[in-house]
Symmetry: D2
């Protein structure tokens, strides 16, 4: 593979398969472009699915150069879905990387794209920069994948200090780890305000009294047989709070993991509700302002952990997903029990003392300037320096000698 | 996926792509069968290549049930080779695992098969038992893969106590880690003897004076541009020792990693030598006895580290491959310098004091009973127990609660 | 690949990706089993999708041995969907065929499964029996595929004499072509009756007055941009006939070709209609009896051409799909024009003279005994006879000589 | 997929997997560039294999833009090799075609690339131009593939009038078929001369007396078990003619079809012969001049049929490959019998009457101006005209109507 001469602009390829990931990548890619990097984007997975809100259009309108589209989402709910998606991804991405010959590959998190990209980088000798390693969350199929990606990645951008320390314990060399905060906050910081009236108009749902929850609930692979029942009990709790307290619920469709079909089935059963309204996806601008004004975030989205503190927003996390993740103190966990869910949502929305407490919490996920920090770090790395490419466990003493 | 009832025999699927791996797996699979497990084998990679000694025939003659053959070795020397092989493997293997519905997947080491199998097990909810994690060796593309496999695997069988301790540092729970020793030694222990005369007849190469070296040298991805030159200098050293000291060399073809083609090219150039003779592959029986009688093992095979101590055999490791791996004291490292190689080989073969020292070393890689230990451990694990399936970092306190 | 000895039962593998195909295969596979063949089934495509009515369950309850499940349906509406599906299919199927070593591969029609299977058979030296070649229909992406399959297949089972003659013109040797009629009729012939009251109960839709149409409308790739509008105008016509004439419509979801998503969107917009009711899929027993009692079949399903004559059922084919296919005289074509559709549906349902004419037509698609004929032909073929395996154009004179 | 505006240069993508194919494509691509087309090349298969003479370098030095490299050659001799190659090709190529959005896809012949490209074009709505359809040759796995490609391709460029007539019989519309001659002759026509002395120097083999044969022998899938024996008997015949008549033989390595490994094994056994010398591959310039001066071409290369008449060169075709193909009268067929091969080679080399007869034959494969004709035809086709995209059998009357 030919590599960059001194004169050539450094090139970064990022890989994205789902909107939540792209929301983290976007400010990073923008910062990289501003720092003089050539940026290319590989789009895959749910972005290419009309069944998941056609987020390709959203990616395209951001104006990044899309260097390839790789189909990786099989239309099935069987356990083969994600692993075969990885098969499609690594093969397609190797084709892309050989042609594009980037200096860095950038990925986020713990999904199929992350491990596929880390493997491609490892076997093709391209430095992999991984955002959000070291998270100790567990219970979900994705969690071990995150740590496997860390063992393959060459540069780590963590979103909290605790994650940074975990990577060090896992044997990653400190010189590779940079705590930068959560890049998703960069965009939130910069997003202009919308009023409740504007939001209500956009959603065709009257939220002008500000009395509403936002619901995002994904399936948990280890509990996928219960996905329908778990969603159903959550929706029943919210429906009753609608009737009893006038609390409206704005829901967003789940991701595509196994079990998502059952969640969609439960959602459909509440399609006639006047208190609950679901959207496949929302424009970022609407979504951020929707959350800014909400009384509570309900469900099990990672947003509750990593973004909600930036909004000073109370979160009711229903079920095991996100358990074990470090949170800023704004999240309370509850089982799939209707009365328990109701009690927690009421506390989050209407217990002023508790709301004041959340208001006063410190956000451990950074200050909204992660993108610029990442660009700065990558600008300082020579992609041909073998110190970066060759990984060893930090527990191991001595240095390898490389011959000419 | 339907799972085993109480009555059904427990099923293990193992995946193998290359002979060196299979030599480790074989005694384990035999021990598992003896312990009452149903055993299936997936064959892939170099086993299916006529260019690599047709080791499929060798696997078939062992009589294990081959449940699928998965082509994963592309005929190219480009960097895409191994990563696209992983693409083919995960896809084919997911098809196999869905049909076979095993209770355990078993893999060895750090190659494409290992990471592919670990990913399939993770995403399809099947327990993965990994043999030989925790090895701190570094400098080769495979090394980070080994650690990534450890982060995904549910059960670890280490081959030394040091590796066990490294896995614990990396955050693996101690209850998952079993130090059993190197299973390759099980077969060596059991292999009947052959005399030098018998070996010479089999090889059509007169080794009856016992004055010979065994050479196994694989390419190192990070240095693949130098593969030809490195092999060439090694062969020149050995050719000169043939002329000067009457030392014969029996060589074995390299594995299929990038650079292997260049090594084969160098080998071809010595095809007329009367001191050096190469074999694509050798029957296990011949090979073990060949090594038993040898004066020295030269090259960079992992055998020098993990098997040679069992034979009390001095090893001259040429180049960076295997550097950083724990050895029993029988291995000396040397650069790709002709005179230096010659000096080390002479010391290993003819310096009686040094040879006595090697004879007295303790083997840290076990006692040749690994297979039975592994079978015993797996027999005691309930594949439906979520404690095994759900991984968390050992640094994280508390337990997850799983709902019905 | 090991092949059958004289003693071994002959083995047939069939490949199915969608229900319409399986409805044709099923009576063939049953007849093959009755004739002493070992039968295996490979399931792929839409069968594995929960978004398409979970027809895997339906296939499983038939009790055929499923030898592998191959994911081949990507979740996208882009033009890459079907061709990448073929990539997944040929790779997965080659793995299956190598393991199973069948004597014959059997496929139907013109979809991804057909061409994938024909290619696998050609390259792996297994005889391919193709059902329903020679159909001159055109205008759809699938049509050239049907003819390509014919050029690769070794044994042709046509469903009309006209198709048989077309295959002869295309250069297929007459000894390979057997006109057997449409196997789908075998099951229709054998299906026990249900009353309108029973059907109404099953569907939860009152059809007891027998005044209803059945609607099946698939997207046409060449016109996929218009799929939504075309479905919409069809539904408007039927809705108006509901109001004006009391004609109810029972609709079935479309297949998964590009454009299907838009059709589903149009369907959703009529979800509140009291005249129109849609079902993802229906039990075969319900479906056959629903069609037996219907006044008309509307849309563009191939059923209108190949099955409706068996029921003596008038068909209104809307749009270009199925144009050019030989029909028994029961089909009238109409453009996507609301008034024209209404006029044709009224004629088909309420013009007694026209209905009598359709009643008197002869069915060119056979008599419902195709399965037994196919089993008889395959029983008489020696899969090792090279005359069957080596294809030449019938225009070419002379015979090839094959050496020992 | 976005398509070309009026202003955009028309774009052609060609796909090549092996040198023999590229030798036909090259003059066509050059002519297309000269006619103002943008030309891109996808390189796959044997081109990417160091085991097959590294012809990628050869392709690269021609200076065409390589838009992607797609690995499609698995390192095995099993029957899965080619069909899994097609799986890799269609998937990779779909990714390429979506990104590049070409107006035309161009392929040659009957290999994996041809059918993969034809399928991609059919499903993605891109016009496929196929060179050398209609050839009635049979007996080889590739032959039915050629005809399947013809059923999928939209534009046919035949290399003889007989092939043109065969395509018409097969139901292809005459407006799609253009007889242009064999493009491989374009390059031969233009290639500057080399003397025997120059050739001998390049080959390091003294051919200055002009008394030599050229040998190219590929495996025949249907007879792959005999590949070794067949090659062996051919080489024995030529070795004896060396000793007896002073006839030297210049051999070229076979293609990568199943059986090629066995042929290479036979070749190796003659590596010490002073009469026979083999080359993995030769520079085009050397090769053309080598053939220009040869007394005879021996083996079973298609070159004997399609190129040799241009040189007025006698051909001894050994075995069944190429049987049934139209030849200009310069080819004599012989079985794998040593004495028979010797007799035919002696006749071809030393029977002056027969040599005069071959000298006087007319070449049915064209005049060496095919490339320019092809460029002219494509320049006149509007890729958006549905008449070209929608195929129907010429036997079918009437026209389809396409709605807006």
């Amino acid at each position: 593979m030919e590599r960059n001469g001194q004169m050539r602009k450094r090139k970064v390829l990022a890989v994205t398969g789902i909107r939540s990931e792209f929301d983290i990548l976007r400010p990073v890619l923008t910062a990289l472009q501003e720092a003089g990097f050539e940026v290319g984007l590989v789009v895959s997975g749910a972005h290419l699915s009309d069944w998941h809100g056609n987020t390709l259009a959203l990616v395209e309108q951001e104006g990044f150069k899309i260097v390839d589209k790789i189909d990786s989402l099989f239309m099935t709910n069987r356990e083969t879905q994600r692993i075969k998606g990885i098969g499609a991804l690594v093969t397609g991405l190797a084709q892309t990387v050989e042609r594009e010959s980037p200096d860095f590959l950038v990925v986020v998190g713990d999904r199929e794209e992350s491990i596929a990209t880390a493997l491609v980088g490892n076997y093709m000798g391209v430095l992999v920069a991984h955002i959000s390693g070291g998270d100790p969350v567990y219970g979900h199929t994705d969690d071990p994948v995150r740590h496997a990606v860390s063992k393959l990645a060459h540069i780590h951008f963590t979103i909290t200090e605790q994650h940074q320390r975990i990577l060090e314990k896992m044997g990653e060399d400190s010189f590779r780890i940079f705590n930068v905060g959560n890049p998703a906050l960069d965009r939130i910081r910069q997003e202009p305000s919308l009023s409740l009236a504007e939001i209500s108009a956009k959603l065709d749902f009257d939220l002008t009294d500000g009395c509403y929850a936002v619901l995002i609930k994904h399936p948990l692979a280890a509990e996928k047989e219960s996905a329908y029942r778990q969603m159903r009990v959550t929706l029943e709790a919210l429906e009753e709070l609608g009737v009893e307290k006038g609390l409206k619920t704005v829901g967003i469709f789940p991701n595509t993991d196994p079990g998502s079909y059952d969640i969609l089935r439960a959602i459909e059963e509440f399609s006639a509700s006047k208190w609950i309204k679901f959207y496949k996806t929302l424009e970022r601008r609407i979504f951020i302002n929707l959350v800014r004004h909400a009384l509570v975030l309900v469900g099990n989205s990672s947003m509750g952990i990593v973004e909600a503190p930036f909004y000073k927003l109370p979160v009711v996390n229903v079920g095991n997903r996100q358990r074990g993740r470090l949170n800023s103190g704004n999240v309370r966990f509850v089982a799939h029990d209707k009365e328990a869910i109701k009690a927690e949502v009421v506390k989050a929305c209407f217990d002023q003392e508790y709301r004041d407490y959340v208001q006063g919490l410190k956000n451990i996920y950074g200050d909204g300037f992660a993108g610029q920090r990442i660009a700065g770090v990558l600008a300082g790395i020579d992609p041909k320096d073998k110190r970066w490419l060759v990984k060893k466990l930090s527990y191991v003493e001595g240095d390898a000698q490389y011959e000419a």
